[in-house]
Amino acid sequence: MPISILPPQPAQSRLPPDPDSDHDDEKVTLNEDGDFVRMASSQKRPKAISIVTPGEIVTSDPQWMRGHGTYLLQSKDSTTDGSGSDAEMEDGADTAAVGGSGGGSIVATVAGTVQKVNKLLSVKPLRARYAPEIGDLVVGRIMEVQSKRWKVDINSTLTAHLLLSSINLPGGILRKRTSTDELQIRSFFSEGDLLVAEVQGLFQDGAASLHTRSLKYGKLRNGYFLKVKAGGIVRGKSHIITLEAANGAGEVDVILGVNGYVWVSKKVTLQAPPGGESITRLEEEASEAIYSNVNEDIAPATRREIARIGNCVRAMVSWNVRVDEEVLNAVYLSALELEEMGIDGEGSIGSGVEYLEGEVGRIVVLAGMDRVSSANLRAGGMVE
């Protein structure tokens, strides 16, 4: 049936992928600080999730230092005049290391969970836009071209800046920047281009400054872009995953931007030039093409796998599963199985069964998680 119109599920009823916890005992008796214990699925240790809401006093204990998402209420008694807390705000919540001055209590400014990391207390909001940090690998789209820099949209509060001086110039690293480069700025990146870059610094107002000074960064080609919610991709060690795609599709690269922008593409291998010249020539020739907009030819089978992997990533994020190499591979394999079984009988390519929205997505993610837990069991025998 090409179209399915469902009554809107109230947000609460989207069941979590927790096969082992039955749901009725989770009726939550709310006490003041909303504490309750939730049996997470097998890998995660059961941990107490305490939600704080804005204006709630998290602690008055002076030994805690104040982190993000909180502010210090300098209060001897509860009724302080408004200006008191304003005065306190001048130093802003970013400067984390404000000593817990005596008598003040730390109050949450956002609704979220309390994070206590050796003496530093901060509140991580339930949902917020991506806040860039130095070293983050992000995927971005060029919004505006100015005389010496580009403004890049990275799904965060302010658009990031990419200076002409912080990119690789075609023709290798040695080339010195000449004034004609400014005139040809559009030949490197122009409006709408997608790039992968690293945050090299933060400006005073929090905007990020990017750089693409390495071969793994630069303009993106040969693939498909998708956007997931910013909190979906958790900062991990490697954000560029290479998957061995099935049906002879070859290798597929998945670039998971920390800002929720994901790029799935065919693996671009530096074909050795026919003459087999020296490495610099190879690297030189590669760097000529880094700013070309022309895709290589990609086989239909690869395109189908790229689409499937894109769906897997989208399903994992919508079901709040951490996207890393191991789990993505497992979910991808279970998606392949799903297509062979042909969930609703006809296994034909055009059955649309690979479209992993809603219920189908949940089944695939669930199967993937089981595959991972069983692999862990086999591998370590120790659930950790």
Partner: protein, 211 residues
Amino acid sequence: MSQPHPLPPIALPGQPLAPSPPYTSSTGTHIHTQNPTSTIITASIAGIPHLHPDMSISITRPSPSSSSSSTSHHRPLLLLPEVTSTVLARVTRLNLRQATVEIFAMQAGAEEMGVCEHTFQGIIRGQDVRATEKDRVKILESFRVGDVISLGDQSNYYLSTASNSLGVVVAHSGGELRVTDAGDPLHPINWRQMACARTGVVEDRKVAKPI
């Protein structure tokens, strides 16, 4: 398909002119791929098609000389400044690093200079004036002939006056001392200076070599 070789006397937009493998398309024409196998050159403006020796076909619009007919005045063939076209512009703003000019006439390749319908804004950066750095002189009213070197950003074209034939053509004295004697025409002395006939005051300009 019309006959490939003898071009019709008059071509209208969309009219197929010739198969593209032997011929190439230049101004006023457009390559249209009907189907993957055959691509043809079609006219994209109404005018007279010409077959050039280098097997390229171009279409020129008859631009009647402005004097004879009152209704359609002189229109340059070129509607927009393009890279490497030389333009006639008037300096509108000066600051330390660049001069903002208003382009009001342009000329592409061999044809003569045509006044354009709408004036475009251009910028001449410090490093594009001449090889050696010249500080800016605050004379507002001086004409400059420059050539367009890049499409620049949103609203500006980047001009350069590096070559000898480019530079100030008509200038008026700035009258630093007293405002009253400003505005006299200057005539060039050498490629760096111009002098005012009446007061003999010498002012710095990047002067175009008088043709």
